[in-house]
């Protein structure tokens, strides 16, 4: 007896909204990054749920791609944050405002 599809979707939606809220509201860049991971994983949950429901393996393959992408993104992102911190002694997102008019 498995839980119905809606449960997974509601769960994923909740995770996603938490991620969005984190990105928009938090000032710590590391937290923002983690929130992005949260959003990506929310999508992953949806993929897996649909894959299982429809008996189609494609969704699970896609999840691997998303995880690879997330790993790459974190690697680049953390590198930027380190470089940023060396320059500004801060990881507050509001201090990263060089690219403006």
């Amino acid at each position: 007896m498995t839980p119905p599809l809606e449960y997974y979707l509601w769960f994923a939606a909740l995770l996603f909204v938490i991620g969005v809220a984190g990105v928009l509201l938090r000032r710590n860049v590391i937290i923002v990054f983690m929130s992005i991971e949260l959003m990506l994983n929310a999508v992953n949950v949806t993929f897996i749920a649909f894959s299982r429901q429809m008996n189609n393996i494609d969704g699970q393959i896609f999840v691997f791609f998303v995880m690879t992408l997330a790993a790459a993104e974190v690697a680049v992102g953390l590198a930027i944050i380190v470089a940023m911190f060396r320059n500004k002694e801060s990881i507050n997102i509001e201090d990263m405002n060089l690219l403006k008019w």
Binding site: M96, N97, K100, W101
Partner: protein, 640 residues
């Protein structure tokens, strides 16, 4: 004419082209002597080839035969097929022989005249280029190739008028010639394009073969012929576009002789004669030509009476003689006009060269008030000049007599002519004899008025030899056209007429011979009387000219100031143009055009000023707009 002979046609313009390239590219390195030999040698070769072709043509004994020689395809676009091809007939051969012959003599003369000038090679390369363009003009078998030559000679004229460009006056004279000519050229081009629209071809023979479907007085043909005549007016210095020619005397004297007397200015006459088949269908245009021609002849002769600059007198004389030629064309006597063109090339070229020789003797003095008494000092120049003057006056036995008399007789007797044309022409003939002998007497007779330290000397042989040859031609040149009345067979008309159109009714045949004799006698008497009058005025009783000038002060001033035409044009066109240009510059250009350009820039700047505030640099702000944007897009698909 067999093909092997005909193929020689393209050699005629080729030699001057080679001369132009050699002198133009290597001129400085070759040295003056080689440049002179190349320049005149090219013309000599050309002359020999054209002479050979002419002899071959005459030997054919096929009157009116015309041959075409196509070199290569030039423009090929849709319906327009143009090739560089030459037409050989009596008209083009006559012009080619005249142009190359006179050009050769003038090139030889130039070696002496331009000796020591810094631009010696440049001068000869321009002269060769001019000859090339002129030959293209006369040999072409379609209007566009003719137009190429037409513009080419205009360019060379501009370059050579402003040859001594260090002097601002010369450069602006060149500008004036070019700009006034452009007005005429515009008419020519419109005429040629209208021809293409009407006939679907630019080629003479194709156009003329379609003329059957047009009746006399057809509107389109009239428009075409009038437009072409506007071109002729500019190039051949007719009223009201003649103003550039007197100023063109700023160029070296051989240029005045070759371009502004013998060849280029007669291009308009040649073009109208070439288009004679069109003109006979347009009586209105013919009348316009005759009236413009006869008015120009009289007008320019009146101005020439009082000018003091020796070259200006000859320039106005040229305008006047060109007017004569147009009078002949206008009354339908195309061959008479061409005949006068030929003899005029001899005697007017001669007189210009002789005037150059006089200037050479007097250290470039051009004002006749500072000449006089040169008869003994420069005898060769004097005698040849005198022969030219007698020829232009129409003294029996010289070339000018035959052509002028033929021309005046046609002006009277032709169906399109009339008594008034003849009368004005005869009066002009009298004026011509008067002003040309005024020039002779002022220059060669009386006391020496030049500075005593001037060493007046005869020109070198290089200069006097062409004078003598041209003087010889001025005497005998007329015998190719002795009228039947005087026991001749008028060979030149016999040949030329076969390639030209004729007016429908030949009324000349009905005129009595006695009348022709009487008119001939009257014009000769007028000329002799005018010469005697000039003798009285300028040799016997030297006080008379001033008395006459004082008595007819108003008329004298009008003539002396060239009827104020330059001032009138200055007021009507030049000043207006400057006013309009200034307005366009200060108002239209600065405000409208610059305003548009600057406004476009400003618009971008201002827009950017507002739009850039979006770039706040706040990462969360960007994320928020990304989020809202995604929501909106998803919402759109969701609630659609």
């Amino acid at each position: 004419m067999v093909n092997s002979t005909l193929i020689l046609v393209w050699l005629i313009p080729l030699f001057p082209l080679i001369g132009f390239l050699l002198n133009g590219i290597f001129g400085k390195r070759l040295g003056d002597k080689a440049v002179g030999i190349i320049g005149s040698g090219a013309m000599l070769f050309s002359f020999v080839v054209s002479g050979y072709l002419l002899l071959n043509y005459l030997a054919l004994n096929q009157v009116g035969a015309e041959f075409h020689s196509t070199l290569f395809s030039w423009i090929s676009v849709a319906d327009l097929q143009l090739s560089v091809s030459f037409q050989v007939d009596s008209l083009s051969l006559m012009m080619a022989v005249m142009v190359t012959g006179v050009a050769f003599l003038i090139h030889v003369y130039s070696i002496g005249y331009m000796h020591g000038d810094g631009g010696f090679a440049r001068f000869f390369s321009y002269m060769n280029l001019f000859s090339f363009m002129m030959l293209v003009l006369v040999l072409s078998d379609n209007y566009i190739l003719m137009f190429l030559g037409w513009e080419g000679v205009g360019l060379c004229s501009y370059l050579l008028i402003g040859f001594w460009y260090e002097d601002d006056k010369n450069a602006s004279a060149g500008n004036k010639a070019f700009i006034v000519n452009r007005i005429g050229d515009f008419g020519f081009l419109l005429g040629a394009l209208l021809l293409f629209v009407t006939f679907g071809s630019f080629q003479y023979s194709e156009i003329f073969s379609q003329l059957d479907r047009f009746s006399v007085g057809d509107g389109t043909i009239t428009a075409i012929t009038l437009l072409l005549f506007v071109g002729a007016m500019g190039k051949s210095a007719q009223l009201p576009l003649y103003v550039w020619l007197p100023d063109a005397m700023a160029g070296p004297t051989p240029v005045s002789a070759l371009i502004h007397a013998a060849t280029m200015v007669t291009a308009g006459v040649y073009m109208v004669a070439r288009s004679s088949f069109l003109y006979v269908l347009a009586p209105t245009s013919m009348t316009v030509i005759a009236v413009v021609g006869v008015a120009t002849a009289l007008f320019a002769a009146l101005i020439a009476l009082t000018q003091n600059d020796i070259k200006k007198v000859l320039a106005y004389s040229t305008i006047s003689q060109l007017g004569y030629m147009f009078l002949a064309l206008g009354v339908g006597a195309f061959s008479a006009g061409m005949f006068h063109l030929l003899t005029h090339a001899f005697f007017k070229g001669l007189m210009f060269l002789a005037a150059g020789s006089v200037m050479h003797a007097l250290a470039n003095e051009q004002d006749m008030r500072f000449m006089g008494g040169l008869r003994k000092k420069i005898p060769k120049t004097f005698i040849t000049f005198l022969i030219g003057a007698l020829a232009i006056s129409g003294i029996p036995g010289l070339s000018g007599f035959f052509s002028k008399d033929e021309l005046l007789w046609q002006a009277y007797s032709s169906p399109a002519g009339g008594f008034w044309f003849w009368l004005v022409g005869a009066v002009t003939a009298g004026l011509t004899a008067f002003y040309i002998f005024r020039l002779i007497f002022l220059t060669f007779y009386g006391e020496a008025r030049w500075k005593p330290e001037t060493h007046a000397h005869e020109s070198p042989n290089k200069m006097t030899l062409p004078l003598i040859i041209l003087a010889f031609l001025s005497v005998v040149g007329g015998y190719i056209g002795v009228p039947a009345l005087l026991g001749g067979d008028n060979r030149i008309h016999y040949y030329l007429e076969a390639n030209l159109a004729k007016l429908p009714v030949d009324a000349a045949a009905h005129q009595s011979h006695s009348l022709e004799f009487i008119l001939m006698g009257i014009s000769v008497l007028i000329a002799i009387a005018a010469i005697y009058l000039a003798y009285v005025f300028y040799v016997k009783r030297r006080e008379l000219p001033e008395l006459a000038a004082a008595k007819f002060k108003r008329a004298y001033n009008l003539s002396f100031n060239k009827f104020y035409v330059d001032e009138l044009y200055d007021y009507l066109f030049v000043k207006r143009l400057i006013t309009i240009s200034k307005w366009l510059w200060n108002k239209f250009d600065v405000r409208v055009l610059d305003g548009m350009a600057n406004g476009a820039g400003k618009l971008i700047t201002v827009t950017g000023w507002y739009v850039r505030t979006v770039q706040s640099g706040l990462v969360s702000g960007y994320a928020l707009s990304l989020f809202i944007g995604s929501l909106l897009m998803i919402g759109y698909y969701f609630f659609r």
